[in-house]
Amino acid sequence: MARTLYDKLWDAHVVHVEPDGTALIYIDRHLVHEVTSPQAFEGLRLAHRAPWRTASVLAVPDHNVPTAHREQGIADPVSRTQVETLDENCRAFGLTEFPMTDRRQGIVHVIGPEQGFTQPGMTVVCGDSHTSTHGAFGALAFGIGTSEVEHVLATQCLWQKKSKAMLVRVDGQLGPGVTAKDIALAVIGKIGTAGGTGHAVEFGGSAIRALSMEGRMTLCNMAIEAGARAGMVAVDEKTVEYLRGRPYAPQGEQFEQAAAYWRSFVSDPGVAYDAVLELDAAQIQPQVTWGTSPEMVVPVDGRVPDPASAPNEVKRSDWERALAYMGLAANTPMRDIPVDKVFIGSCTNSRIEDLREAAAVARRAVAQGRRVADNVKLAMVVPGSGLVKVQAEAEGLDRAFTAAGFEWRDPGCSMCLAMNADRLEPGERCASTSNRNFEGRQGQGGRTHLVSPAMAAAAAVYGHFVDVREVMS
């Protein structure tokens, strides 16, 4: 029988099935960070249990780490304790960790693929909803809670019910200046933040095959914002070549053996999905969110919607509340909205390709005698990992940013969720390449607009949202 990519991943990991279909699933890779793991390690200690397979774990502190003056350590004692607790737990339980001072340190969802730790055909979990990112490699990857972190540490398995399978097929060619982030936001705008609930989403079609691995990671990263725990893309030669030579990938002859296995992680031709959504890539415009949920999104030449035109009563009150929180009036053109801060980073958009796209806008600005606009208090670029930072500096991207007035920082989650010192103050408005525009996400009272890296850089230079295609033409 024809099987989807998701079916193949599921079937390859079933250890045991209960009569009601609840299955015990084997977990190949477990990424760990400082925020959702301390209580899990505490649980292991209390029960006198040891990790089942230490080689399956890679740990890194990312949420609390400072992005400036790292050599001075973490100023906030509560944050510092959490990071030190991770260090101690990894030492005590014999787990591999890239500590804050390691040049390989970075956002957990950037370093897993970068190290070749994430591979096709695997199950990958982490106590973090954006674990869906790793599905870009033809893996089954999803976020779990802390009880499950402890469960995976103790047993290498998880209890799961199989999800339904959804195909999001994007065919055609993206226009210049339109990116994977815009596809993700356009999909969420179409199906809503609960549109993928209960589903594993496979992204397919010619526009997806044309994306780089970085672009596929951006897209799968945002699957959770559509409600889908897992997003995934079928394996192709780009997947295989990305992994070749990476430190944790198989080497030599074993790499070829693994690659042959990896290439089987594609959906069979003609297989049926429980749901299908089709989009034409050529129709997708650069996107900007206007509200407090990623589904509240319009193309950059659109306007803030009028709650009077909402499809139902619950939505109308949601939109009204969102406009009040965001300090926006209905029908305002998105381009007329000024920004106070700009954040380029996060597990969604902090990889080398993202930084190149943003740096190209910064370079163009400098060539035109422009720099970060006077009304923008802070425009910060936070690379996803120490290795991304090194590569960006080798390419001169850091100088392109700083010459235009952007700040060039050290890697971490930073202002995506503001657990470290990087945050919005009440009422501040931010063009952000992160993944969530929830109330208070970037700081209490902060107002977040989600955009692509190039769109964020353009907003920094003009001081308000602009269509990056016009800036770069």
Partner: protein
């Protein structure tokens, strides 16, 4: 885990869709390395007028009088009535920890986000999915009747309203069994150690690099 069998609980309504886990427990409280004590900071940004910080005492902070859970009539509520996609966003288990510590044991909504839904069952909280019309009706009745309470019977899979109406609900048999008995997942899984080892042995043959 604390078992859940039956509850007679005061109902509190939270009438907004897409309530995310950042709203349920803001990020600054996630710096704690404990799994208890989050209740006083549940819904912190909606509940108080000032900014909450870990370690800051909460008893003398200014309450937001417009936030529904601050109303006198909902004090002591153990059933939370919510709208669609409740618990979306971050996977933080601190969200169910905060709700449980606040006093909620049952959450009723037309839909839940997957990770949050799953996390509830690990913490003795019963999330119940009901059709949108039924949830609408419960919102209306809760608003109309002060002291509106529901009897939740997990074994029988029913809610009973104050007027004696019985509303059935669905729950996965395996989840129900574990919640009713307060069973620890890890303890159950360790009964299958032999199967896990057999699986590993087979996979080591097919794909040895997975175990490198």
């Amino acid at each position: 885990m604390k078992p859940f069998t039956r509850l007679d609980g005061l109902v509190a309504p939270l009438d907004r869709a897409n309530v995310d886990t950042d709203a349920i427990i803001p990020k600054q409280f996630l710096k704690s390395i404990k799994r208890s004590g989050f209740g006083p900071n549940a819904f912190d940004e909606w509940r108080y007028l000032d900014r909450g910080e870990p370690g800051k005492p909460n008893h003398d902070r200014p309450l937001n009088p417009d936030f529904v859970l601050n109303q006198a009539r909902y004090q002591g509520a153990s059933v939370l009535l919510a709208r669609e996609n409740f618990g979306c966003g971050s996977s933080r288990e601190h969200a169910p920890w905060a709700l449980e510590d606040y006093g909620f044991r049952v959450i009723i909504a037309p839909s839940f986000a997957d990770i949050f839904f799953n996390n509830c069952f690990k913490n003795g909280i019963l999330p119940i999915v009901l059709p949108a019309e039924t949830v609408d009706r419960l919102f209306r009745e809760t608003a109309a009747v002060e002291g509106y309470a529901l009897t939740v019977d997990l074994a029988g899979q029913t809610l009973t309203t104050p007027t004696g109406d019985v509303i059935p609900f669905e729950v996965d048999p395996e989840r129900k069994h574990r919640l009713l008995n307060g069973l620890d997942d890890i303890g159950i899984t360790l009964q299958y150690v032999d199967k896990v080892r057999a699986y590993e042995a087979r996979r080591k043959g097919e794909a040895p690099w997975l175990f490198a």
